[in-house]
């Protein structure tokens, strides 16, 4: 009795991928314009600055930091609201069964293109019209949000069970009635949790948008980094981390409550 071992699976493709990946990575390391020797004293440098930032954070500017944080959060909120208002109708039009095929295709490509552009570039573009105000940041976040909310929206509309939609149609429901009674009851929890998730993303992004001068915590952080007031930078980072994590935690709880329903006592 001989053991009939199954033939070894062929691994040509896998090996080729491995080879390609390794080549690309090595080529990138080798060709990039960095003095790799510098990397040796990097840990010490970073440790030194980290010490400067966090050994004794300067809390005297905390009130201003909180004000700027509020502006960032407000920017994120307004951006989310703008995105919801614009993206929700668009995502219905982009869903199968609801919009004509050519329009659907155009919208989907549009969503994909918006998602490919970082929001800070959108902010730079619209800046010449809206100026260096938090409004610019909010509008940039709003436009960027259309890409993500639109995509998630039509995917979730297409995932809605067909039964309620068909029965609303069969009962003579109009387009808007189908949306209200066939789609919305099953899609709304997902929609709301997407909105909250997008708000979480926006809170992070709004801090970044400050870098181009539209205000908020990012603006303050870049200024103090440039002044090299490390103890203030440390304080600002602590504020950013705490606020972001707190908003994530609250928003995450609400999302779970929306998608999973109330816990039965």
């Amino acid at each position: 009795m001989t053991l009939l071992a199954p033939p070894r699976p062929r691994r040509t493709l896998r090996n080729a991928l491995w080879l390609a990946t390794t080549t690309v990575v090595i080529a990138a390391f080798w060709s990039v314009d960095i003095q790799w020797a510098r990397i040796l004293d990097l840990p010490a440098e970073i440790a030194r600055y980290t010490w400067l930032m966090f050994s004794s954070p300067d809390w005297s500017k905390l009130p201003e930091a909180l004000l700027q944080t509020w502006r960032s959060v407000a920017m994120a909120w307004v951006g989310t609201v703008i995105a919801i208002i614009l993206a929700t109708p668009l995502s219905f039009v982009a869903a199968r069964d609801f919009g004509p095929a050519p329009v659907r295709a155009v919208l989907r490509v549009g969503f994909a293109l918006i998602r490919a552009v970082p929001e800070i570039i959108i902010a730079i573009v619209i800046l010449s019209v809206t100026g260096l105000t938090p409004l610019t940041g909010a509008i940039a976040l709003g436009i960027n949000g259309i890409g993500t909310l639109g995509k998630w929206g039509y995917e979730s509309i297409e995932g809605v069970p067909r039964g309620p939609i068909e029965s609303t149609r069969a009962a003579g429901g109009s387009w808007s009635q189908v949306v209200r009674w066939g789609v919305w009851p099953s899609a709304s929890p997902e929609f709301m949790s997407f909105w909250l998730y997008r708000f979480e993303i926006n809170v992070r992004s709004s801090a970044v948008l400050g870098l181009i001068g539209v205000g908020g915590i990012g603006d303050m952080l870049t200024s103090y980094t440039q002044y090299r007031e490390w103890s203030t930078v440390g304080m600002l980072l602590i504020v950013v981390v705490i606020v972001t994590m707190a908003i994530d935690a609250i928003s995450g709880r609400i999302r779970r409550r929306i998608t999973e329903g109330a816990r039965l006592a």
Partner: protein, 282 residues
């Protein structure tokens, strides 16, 4: 609870008792809660839109600047193709940063992912420490890291790469350790029961299961890195962003338009390649 019970209330007193009354289930209580939620959302929205406390949303300001700005934005429609040769070196640097950061981030993340998952690290304290540190790391956007790192180590690709690595480790470890949690505990228990050391258990039982998720998330992070690395230069961290910063100071939106087009092409191409590979992995 009989079906023939006459319906109570003033209207039902004179009506004859019928054999069939529809018993409607009681309206669920707590119907006011969604309305409270809507009200809270509306109040926050009003505050954030208001000029005193919020960000002063006004169409008027936009209308005032329209004349001035719209012409510049229209320049986006006529990309300056002669600018193309100058964009190539920064574009390549952007891709180099993305690839290097992904590779470094992936290598650092592998052991950390094993540490952060319950199945592969039964030690609660160590696991908690890894998770907490990474939660904090994830709370700061990569561009803020880049801004600070540029002040620390100077302008160039290096601060950009470090910022991306921090960002990547946060994401990969979270996603991969979550994937490990959903793996089958059987092989690990078998390896431990057979007397394997920690390294042997990881090598023989944990890694084969971790591998697809790990490769998948690393490629996903590569996609994120390509997007992120295009703008890191705005704070001096190398790549296309440096050029964006130079171009925007002079409102050369025709040149900016070319850069945006290049970003679109690169991001879409990398996304397509990466998602084809990822589909084969899963």
């Amino acid at each position: 609870m009989t079906t023939a019970a006459p319906s109570p209330g003033p209207a039902g007193t004179s009506a004859p008792a019928t054999a069939l009354t529809l018993i409607i289930p009681p309206r669920p209580r707590g119907r006011w809660k969604p309305w409270v939620a809507v009200a809270v959302v509306l109040v926050i929205t009003l505050i954030t839109f208001s000029p005193q406390w919020g960000i002063a949303f006004s169409f008027e300001a936009i209308a005032r600047n329209w004349q001035n700005g719209a012409g510049k934005i229209a320049l986006l429609l006529v990309p300056d193709w002669s600018f193309f040769p100058r964009t190539i070196p920064p574009l390549i640097e952007t891709l180099q940063m993305a690839v290097i950061a992904t590779a470094m981030g992936a290598i650092i993340s592998l052991p950390l992912s094993l540490w952060a998952a319950r199945l592969t690290n039964p030690h609660p304290v160590l696991r908690g420490v890894v998770r907490t540190v990474l939660n904090i790391v994830r709370a700061v956007p990569e561009l803020l890291y880049a801004a600070i790192l540029v002040a620390m180590v100077g302008v160039g690709a290096l601060p950009g790469i470090i910022a991306l690595v921090l960002f990547n480790v946060g994401i990969i470890v979270k996603l991969v350790s979550e994937a490990i949690e959903s793996n089958d505990a059987g092989p690990l228990e078998a390896a431990r029961a057979a007397g394997g050391t920690g390294a042997q258990v990881n090598r023989a039982a944990a890694l084969p299961d971790v591998w697809p998720a790990f490769a998948n998330q690393s490629l996903y992070v590569l996609e994120l890195n390509v997007r992120a690395s295009t703008v890191l230069g705005l704070v001096g961290a190398g790549g296309l962003g440096l050029l964006i910063d130079a171009v925007r100071t002079f409102y050369r939106y025709d040149q900016l338009s070319l850069i945006i087009l290049e970003i679109l092409v690169v991001v879409v191409v990398i996304d397509v390649i990466s998602s084809t590979i990822r589909k084969r992995l899963v």
